[in-house]
């Protein structure tokens, strides 16, 4: 590592892991589709954080560039996901996944 006061890799990875797990738990326990969706975004951002951390550690640009791709994809995902959730809300007036249960078996 180049900078004298650099944050060690393990700290960054720990942060990224914590963020990922918060997102994971959010998806599993929350029932509001919008909150689930936000938790998924948290998971993607945890991955971004890991990419940047590794890119710095490895002194390679690949990881940093990857983050740009991920952010673009996440933006597209938001556009489509919100459209779907809004459409569901129009028909059912709820975004709670427990109450949207027409298909089962």
């Amino acid at each position: 590592m180049s900078a004298p006061m650099a944050v060690p890799l393990s700290w960054m990875l720990a942060l990224s892991g914590v963020v990922f797990v918060i997102g994971l738990i959010g998806v599993l326990v929350r029932r509001n589709a919008l909150v689930i969706f936000m938790s998924i975004e948290l998971m993607l951002n945890a991955a971004n954080l890991a990419f940047v951390a590794f890119a710095r550690q490895l002194d390679s640009l690949d990881g940093q560039v990857f983050v740009f791709f991920v952010m673009t994809v996440a933006a597209a995902e938001v556009a489509i996901g919100l459209a779907i959730i809004v459409n569901v809300f129009r028909l059912r007036e709820t975004v709670y996944v427990d109450e949207i249960n027409l298909l089962k078996g």
Binding site: L13, A50, F54, V88, L91, V97, L103
Partner: protein, 483 residues
């Protein structure tokens, strides 16, 4: 001096043709067309044909484009042609279905082309970044296609479940890629393999964790148990032609990426991923087949059957090596064809906006519409793996490859599962020929393009059942690109 952009434009042709076609479809919307115009389908077919022609023109050569992120080899060629074929058949099957369901045609076909492009990118990727981008391109288009019947709650609910779980799986995949990148210092598959060859780091927890997370992400896309929860709901709620398309295309694309990843990048990790895959394969076959037995809805039953078929392909992936990979590729081509045919027939049932998809809706069709009933019977027999259909040849080569690789217990599980599966496939035939309809037999829509599509799949299903050699040779040639 080398030119600034040094690419083989023919190898890149499918991407240009499909994205060009999708943009043209959107631009054409400025010139209004009637609801019954076939313009969208024609443009989509033309771009698929152009894509297939481009890749066929250079099918003998091997190219690495964009610094090796995108490779053009026999594997890419095989899958590009397969995806173009799947999409072209889907266009034929959708031709009148979308008009009947009042689906907005330009967007429908544009998204179909975009999803096909995503699949092609997945099969051609030699880098985790491009695999991820291809997968997202395919998935984002499919989320919208699943929810395309906006006014129907089922379609919306299916789209939401598919989207939330799909994005969740993408999160796993991405984190796995990040960890693999951290452990090996590269996202390029071949450089990753070179780094790992003989490396003492094979038990590095970062590496194992990354591999596992990527496996979860891809397992979700191919609907392997325990990541299959979205499949029945998404397949049931989606417009039937979309169900056919994604059950064939998305699965084949997921396996294409998985094969490349497992056999090119991580062959040295075999000892770690094989036991996991063996367990997943056995579970996938068993859960898929046993749950399919309980279904009364035809689309849902076919959804569980498609889960089971993912299990058979996984058996071939576990077998590994040239033979196993060839058997997997061979099986995917056959499975895509017969599944598309079956869903194509389901899409023909009903008039106007209604969609009779219960098993009991098939009652009496055997005599009212013998041709349709015959075709559906053949597809069911083929899905069940009964000779002389292509499905039998597919299963035969998969199990043979697994026996040669010494995976005897897995083969026994697979064969037992095939026997179980015959029960529910035959229930369709029983409903067609031996049950009395409660009222009028179900109406069948007329659609010449869809009939052409079904006849093509039927003819190939029977032809490959008798003459599987040509296809098998192509499959074997295709995996040579990986080794």
């Amino acid at each position: 001096m080398t030119p600034l952009i040094d690419v083989d434009w023919w190898a890149l042709g499918p991407g240009l043709a499909l994205s060009g076609g999708a943009m043209l479809l959107m631009l054409l919307e400025f010139v209004p067309a009637g609801r019954n115009s076939s313009r969208g389908a024609l443009v989509a077919l033309a771009s698929l044909l152009a894509a297939a022609a481009c890749v066929w023109r250079v099918h003998e050569v091997k190219r690495a484009l964009f610094d090796g992120m995108f490779v053009h080899d026999t594997f890419t060629v095989f899958f590009t042609l397969l995806f173009c074929g799947i999409a072209a058949l889907s266009v034929l099957l959708s031709w009148d279905y979308v008009k009947r369901m009042r689906i907005n045609q330009a967007e429908y076909y544009a998204l179909l082309l975009a999803a096909t492009l995503g699949m092609i990118v997945m099969s051609a990727s030699n880098d985790l970044i491009t695999i991820f981008l291809g997968l997202e391109l395919m998935s984002l288009a499919l989320y919208v296609l699943v929810g395309f019947r906006r006014s129907r709650l089922e379609s919306n609910e299916a789209a939401m479940k598919y989207f939330l779980l799909g994005a969740f799986a993408s999160g796993f995949l991405l984190y796995g890629i990040a960890l693999l990148y951290g452990a090996t210092g590269t996202t390029h598959l071949e450089r990753m393999a070179a780094f790992l060859a003989g490396s003492p780091l094979l038990s590095n927890p970062l590496l194992l964790m990354g591999g596992l997370l990527v496996l979860v992400g891809l397992g979700f896309k191919v609907a392997a148990v325990p990541f299959h929860m979205w499949t029945p709901d998404a397949y049931e709620g989606a417009p039937t032609t979309v169900t056919g398309y994604m059950s064939a295309g998305a699965k084949a694309a997921g396996f294409a990426a998985l094969l490349r990843l497992a056999l090119v990048a991580l062959p040295d990790l075999q000892a770690s991923w094989k036991p996991v895959l063996i367990a997943i394969a056995a579970l996938t076959m068993t859960v898929g087949n046993v749950t399919a037995l309980l279904q009364t809805n035809l689309k849902r039953m076919l959804a569980y059957s498609s889960i089971a078929h993912a299990g058979y392909v996984l058996v071939a992936v576990v077998a590994g090596g040239n033979e196993g990979a060839a058997a997997a590729v061979f099986y995917l081509a056959i499975y895509s064809l017969m599944n598309l045919g079956a869903f194509g027939i389901v899409a023909l049932l009903g008039r106007d906006q209604d969609e009779p998809v219960l098993l009991s809706d098939l009652a009496g069709l055997g005599f009212k519409n013998p041709a349709l009933a015959f075709a559906l019977t053949i597809f069911m027999l083929s899905l069940g793996g009964i000779p002389p259909t292509a499905g039998f040849m597919g299963k035969f080569y998969v199990f043979r490859a697994a026996v040669q690789a010494g995976q005897i217990p897995l083969v026994i599980v697979g064969v037992l599962n095939s026997v179980v599966s015959i029960f529910y496939y035959l229930r369709v035939t029983v409903a067609l020929y031996m049950e009395e309809p409660a009222g009028e037999p179900t109406a069948v829509s007329r659609s010449i393009p869809a009939v052409i599509g079904v006849v093509v799949s039927l003819a190939l299903t029977l032809w490959w059942g008798l003459q599987a050699h040509a296809l098998l040779e192509q499959a074997q040639r295709s995996v040579l690109g990986l080794m």
